[in-house]
């Protein structure tokens, strides 16, 4: 069922990207989609995201807002004359509460695109995310911010 739905969505996306909604093009897109899905069939998991559109939407909104804020912050920092004084980089160990690969990946990607933080790597046991930050006045506050912001939202969407 999910497979058929995914193939349909892929066919529509194919038609949209190639820019022609003709019957032949839709069939071709569907065929390519089915092949792609067959190649990754082991990895298809239940798309819980579809069920929680509202929460996923609010996460996306928070993300776009944070990305804009982040880009402006970094731009201002880079252009400031006393750059070396304002720069206080650090690599922080962030204790993860989310557990699955999908959640960790999403959190790591969101962290990279938001103010002053960049994911370096996950520890081997997947319990700690190492985060590089541009300017860290307060280590514990940074951890609290991530845990209360993105991580909390991700847990709501995936729970």
């Amino acid at each position: 069922m999910i497979f058929v739905l995914a193939a349909l969505v892929l066919a529509l996306m194919w038609a949209a990207v190639t820019g022609a909604f003709t019957f032949g093009n839709l069939v071709l897109g569907g065929a390519v989609g089915v092949i792609a899905l067959l190649l990754m069939r082991e990895r298809i998991v239940r798309p819980t995201l579809f069920v929680k559109f509202g929460k996923a939407f609010s996460l996306a909104g928070l993300f776009l807002f944070e990305l804009s804020r982040s880009a402006v912050t970094v731009a201002l920092l880079v252009l400031s004359p006393d750059l070396s004084k304002r720069l206080k980089p650090a690599i922080i160990a962030f204790p993860l509460r989310v557990r699955t690969d999908a959640e960790i990946t999403l959190l790591a990607n969101l962290i990279t695109l938001t103010p002053g933080t960049l994911s370096v790597d996950v520890s081997n046991d997947r319990r700690v995310l190492y985060v590089h930050a541009l300017s860290v006045p307060d280590r514990d506050k940074l951890i609290a911010d991530i845990a209360g912001g993105f991580e909390a939202k991700i847990m709501e969407v995936f729970e």
Binding site: A16, V74, A93
Partner: protein
């Protein structure tokens, strides 16, 4: 109405160019790879997003808007991954962060 859209597109394009420029300045001014990835990933993604927005507004055509949106999503998915891989690879090969970086709560053996 068309005029307004043209102006919106122009402003978005200029803003995007501005962010791309600050990303480039950041690459020169920041002290090490880790801090440079901040400038490249964030300002870079923002610049690409604004330029896609500009293209979408100027074309004002369903398929172009959809393609611009998909392009932006791909940038958002791939930029953090490449930043993360570069940072990880540098750390594992022994490229230390700049001296002002502290604390460093990461040991190469934790992520090998």
């Amino acid at each position: 109405m068309v005029d307004v859209l043209q102006y919106v597109a122009g402003i978005a394009m200029l803003l995007g160019g501005g962010f791309a420029l600050t990303a480039a300045i950041g690459l020169i001014r920041l002290p090490d790879l880790y801090t440079r990835m901040h400038a490249a990933s964030k300002a870079g993604a923002m610049a690409t997003g604004l330029m896609f927005l500009s293209i979408a507004v100027v074309a004002f055509d369903g398929s172009v808007i959809l393609r611009a949106a998909i392009g932006f999503v791909f940038v958002l998915l791939t930029t953090p991954v490449s930043a993360h891989l570069l940072a990880r690879a540098s750390f594992l090969t022994g490229y230390r962060p700049a001296d002002i970086t502290k604390p460093i709560e990461l040991d190469a053996k934790d992520i090998e």
